[in-house]
Symmetry: D4
Subunit: 250 residues, 8 copies
């Protein structure tokens, strides 16, 4: 789709050869902004209900700042994940409304807030307090995407009564995100209690044979409970995003 | 289930405000049938909307037959996964209505069929024809659980036009299951096209460095598209079950 | 074995206070029978309370038969693990009292049976019916070593009420063996309920990403419950042996 | 907890045979304290004989301090593992009796000390001096839980006489903890000498192909000696806790 | 180099038909310079069209400076990969024309520049902005070896329209280098669009289960598109070098 | 590409608004034949110079026969890889000209043969005789795609003189495919001798720590020689296909 | 082979000081026989003291028979490893003196037998009877290469006295080969007893977490005893060959 | 140490034919010094020809200093591996003759130097300059143990002529140590040239898929050349020690 083609098509349009709708229909499926080092997908908000989210890790600070500024020019709400404090400082200058969630390493711009549906809350469970950074990444992601979130933290299976005491909150949730490191068993136990989808997030928390989250990952993939699917290790954002998608279904 | 609630319930009970049966009804939300080698979870149909599904692999033929017979005595619809022909023959004697889906290795008893909601279909995509056994396991699972299923097979990303030609079918699906071996890239491409949940199922199909599905599994877990979650390698059943859960959400 | 002790013993010996046989008896605490292809450790019954157990896998049929015959000449009770039917047939000819536990693949010679202590039973739990061969290997091993065994099978965590319904049996056990494939979460849940040792045995049962037991193994090693230790994948014998050792402690 | 028992208890309660408190006492065997980011399991001391132990790694310093303070309000003895000096400083302010074992990275509060049974000592062996941090974590854990501990360090199998010289100490131990990195062979040799349980702890000490403890872990899991079970890599605490549980058995 | 040829050559030499120098010229096709810690392969420029490239990582700063100085004495163009700023500073003193590409960590000496063939450009695609350091290493390598390079960055498959919009640029490329982390799916999609060779470079960018590039590596090796070959993780240089070799073919 | 758009475009065409060439140009990029279980990509011959190749493994025999028959109706030359004898028998009935290369497990239909360019031969080297099935898969693939192939087998690096004796044949090759199991070192040695591209194919041949080709795969990916890229384990076809693509470049 | 030496040799040759044959003798240190599918390295007997050994696995039966026949035409002693009975039958027809060692899967032709040096024996130890096939492959290999071999089998470390009882035999050996599966600890213990080289051979014998020999392999590589080096899993031949090389040193 | 021998010795002792000291001298072939945190094996110098070598990594600085001081009191030559500069400073105070080899991270005390046998040199080859730290650890280890060492560095197989030019030095070596990272192919090529033992040392040098030395390790274990054995990744000391043992054989 080089610019010559577009020029031609637009001229055909001016000459009446094709209609406005046709041109729009064609163009709209291909909209992005090309800056030197990135192609910003402004159309994603239309296609998937939320603008492109910036994965900050591995980018330079100026790249992060520029991309978030460009997104913030078009979208009221913007999200950057895996962001350092230094990245946030640079974004803050370009987008003053931005704030930073340190534990979850998120940069958030939230200028429009719709009222969440309190009856359909997303539940975020964590097995231990050490899993909180990932759990918060999931929870905040879901919140900025417009959902009600309940948090139930530190309910690992070694004290099953702490978990069972939350049974009502668990069973009423519309979607649950289970965040756990070590052996990740929480996903299976929760999966057996409910008839709603469970998104399991393995974390890299644990002793040596956790192998940076591999143990929890394999554990969750092998869950004997149906209704459990898994996202990447420590990927709280992915879980929050998928939970938001599911929670939007009617 | 916090103690205040229980105290209240017990006092109401002592005062006669609620009956013994009501208390028991609450407490015994735990019911199962204990046969020698298995504890059949009849309560699962109530708790999760479908009776316990029998994972046949690793069980003896008589065990499979007995368990399925017990389930079929209480539930109109029963499902056995990873079943051999020999297992089916034994089940067939005990439950004559049972039939066998050879490619998907499923034993199916389906005596009650509710009309699926045609507008909310589950889409099952496969990257290659070789992935069909797993794709069919997912599709048949969803069908027996009462859902409309569309199949789009052999649309691997190496011929992206075959996939894009199905864009309408893909975008209209309520939930999509993407089944792929080799590099599993199909999940990411589909994930970028839609705003609905994607359940990715890696298969063990491929050349050596697929390592029995590890390549596709890691690929899908690392999907750059949001909205994708992953189940176990070759676990078509798990995907079909989860898709059914999501597709039931209103 | 410090040198002062030996010096003293030798001087006592020169002085005639102790006999040559006593010295030898001490020094040769190392006794075994050397047949062509094996060194049978008859002393193990004294040293560890049960004669050497024969790991049959990888040995030829005549080797298995000869070794078990030699052991049976000196010990009333003998055990062969990972044995095929063909191996059993050969052993049976040499040791007619031998019997075969097909599911557990054990060859058992049990000519002396001491009354087990019914109060201190060993509990064998399995997550699924498919884990029974390994669970039975553990249970029969403990029984032939003189212990009372209780079996609670098919109590995987996806139906937590089935497990909790056995809480009394679980809490009263003196030692528990938890046998589970897939995600192996059962070990953690049981570990959180009791104040007695848990021996966890991962099995190779499951879908692809179980990787022949790796998922359950890592899961159990990473158990968030204290009091859990792990033996090799599918090693029911090892668990049964260790449980017997612990159960003998007074 | 089968329903007949509960029915009986409830009827006795309605009839006044047992009090409301008794029912509650039974039912609320599930008690914990809910602070913002953690659910402190005060009941664990009753259920498992020692209060919840705090895994400090991955928690923030204020979280560690708060949790340990809460535990110290109810229990005389408290333990924090994998703790940094900075964490200790914060805990020290909240719980002045706390002290820090730097090598083992433990925070210890020990206000009640029962006399250990000197005849039933727990033996901690280490293969090398470099394994001492893990060995000390195990030893101190067992000591704070009320057990007599003997240490035999630097007895790796490459100088087997150093180990055999300790044979008496080894054979008299009631439970042994074997801590070893590199090839972890010490567990098998010790396992062959004794008729008591061996808890093996692989460490991450070694050259490249140790792969952060994987070599020692696999080695110990594959031990040809019966009576050996394994805990997580570098998990001295887990070994000390399990040894304490076993050593309490009578 | 069969013996008949050599015999003939030697007899011709004895007969004076060819000179000693000609024989030596043939035999010493093996020339290098031996400095204390390295054997510099000056002949490589003749044998492979570009002088030896210095892999700086793991070398000391003086070693890097000396080797690059020696190479620069004989070759107009020299390349050092995986170089730190400190290494560059030392090289700069010895070879003043050297410059440093910080993002790609390359030290470049380029004193002779031939005009690239603009019609046969090498295309470097990257899936994300975070992959740029590796992509630039590939691009700059190809440029210094005399090739025209086109860059198309941030066209990951989750927004397939961004990629398809570049279809013309992609299809006209003579060789393509696809740089991608996460699930590396870009290689397969591009591989299905073109009839020219694709060199895939996995990067170590991504969440936990990327396992430092393993996910992308396996994904690319399993590409369902023909025409794709893979180089080492993060090895932009290797891809740039191979693309240059292929792009030189006539 | 929904059908409404196509209808509109076609009507514009009938009205003269767009030209025949425009319509064709658009439509042709999307051509495939949809049979029940596969979408046959007839357009691939135009797009990539050779029709779709059938990966037979994992497909049923009737599926293979049908797909190959459909392809053979449109293309003179057709290739099926990883095919069993039974698959061939079924194909042979549908396409009588088909023949079978047993060692390479290829089904070949070759009704049109263009004269290969003898000066630009593809060289296939194998390290050992045991690697021949993979080497032949590569060689026959390149031949059916119209290339001259030279074979140099059994030149593993443990007898380097066997390899060096082939130096002339190696250096004159236009592209080389190096097939090796065990340690796969051949790729690096050949890569150091030539200035042409090397495609390395690891094979699963070897003793235990080859881990089904992993050793050779990692070895080749880490080749210290530039100009080497790697395809999947045992993927002779992929190498032959890529070599054909490169060998066509002018 | 530096150029000065060659220049000198060539000038001596031109001057007649050395003959053409002498030059050729030097240059053609490269001799092999080229049959269709293999390049038989007849020179290896001169270069390395024993003719090329045939790795039979993965070769066809006729290939094995032809290669062994060609070798047997020139060498009195020939060895084929990893050979099946069927391969042997074919070799037997071509080389009637051949015999077959079934346990070790070796085809042996031994027409010349030199008297071994009884004082410098090679010791082959195995941990268990199940390791015998690999141990015998090592032992027979060393014997056919002209060495005295002592076998000490079934001395695994779980019964350390069985091993220590052999201390004299162990300490007198000139080279030791330690064959062990499971945790492979035997290598370390033996390595600590002697001042001679130890060649460790991991075997694939064991329970699940042996992972086909990986556990023993890693264990042996991490041996805390100096003087231990490792060959491939189950590679008895490699160990026997290396022991023979070392045992020849004077 | 069979019982007949012991019986005879004891009877001789009772008869006065041998003294108590002689018996003790035999029995206490087990001598070591017990300091708080280590058991120093002074007997090793007698048993294995060189005193215990201190693996410094993971020990505290005072531990290293104390152990080396104790060893230096009894042995003229002492070696510490994997030592930091800080460790050396502490050792230097206790043992003033100590010196430090920074690149190889060795602490060396060498107060007695025997004249090495120049004819039997140990050859240390390295593939690249980056492998020098490991190569030097091997070389210096062999030197302090009394051997002549030749170094041939930077002869990786990608420039095979650099290696072949050293053929004479290589073929004359009595033992060779091959140090290589990346694909480790050097071991196989050298192994094919010589008839002496090769000790291969994989290093952790390389791009991503080297996986910290795994690629080179597997490559070397799978060497197609006989006569190659492997030590741990980066374990230069182990190779130097084993080479010294072999080079001492007569």
């Amino acid at each position: 789709m080089n610019t010559d083609n577009i020029r031609g098509m637009l001229e055909s349009f001016r000459e009446g050869a094709i209609s406005l709708e046709q041109v729009l229909g064609f163009l709209k499926s291909f909209a992005y902004e090309d800056i030197e080092f990135a192609k910003i997908d402004h159309h994603r908000a239309v296609r998937q209900g939320f603008p492109e989210v910036v994965f900050c890790q591995g980018k330079t600070i100026p790249q992060v700042a520029t991309i978030m500024k460009k997104l913030a020019e078009r979208s009221p709400n913007v999200l950057g994940t895996r962001a350092s404090k230094e990245m946030f400082a640079a974004v803050k200058e370009a987008v003053p409304e931005a704030w930073y969630h340190e534990l979850a390493r998120l940069i958030v711009v939230e200028r429009s807030k719709k009222e969440p549906d309190a009856d359909r809350y997303i539940l975020v469970l964590s097995a231990g307090t050490s899993d909180m950074p990932v759990a918060e990444e999931a929870a905040v992601t879901a919140e900025i995407m417009g959902h009600q979130v309940q948090r139930v933290y530190d309910v690992g299976v070694a004290g099953i009564h702490r978990l069972l005491a939350q049974r009502e909150t668990i069973c009423k949730a519309n979607v649950s995100i289970v965040v756990a490191g070590m052996e990740g068993a929480l996903a299976s136990v929760v999966g057996g209690l409910v008839d709603k989808p469970i998104i399991a997030v393995p974390t890299s928390i644990g002793y040596g044979a956790n192998f940076q989250g591999l143990a929890a990952l394999l554990s969750m993939l092998n869950s004997c409970a149906a209704g459990v699917a898994v996202v990447n290790i420590d990927n709280g954002f992915g879980a929050g995003r998928l939970a938001s998608i599911i929670n939007t279904m009617r």
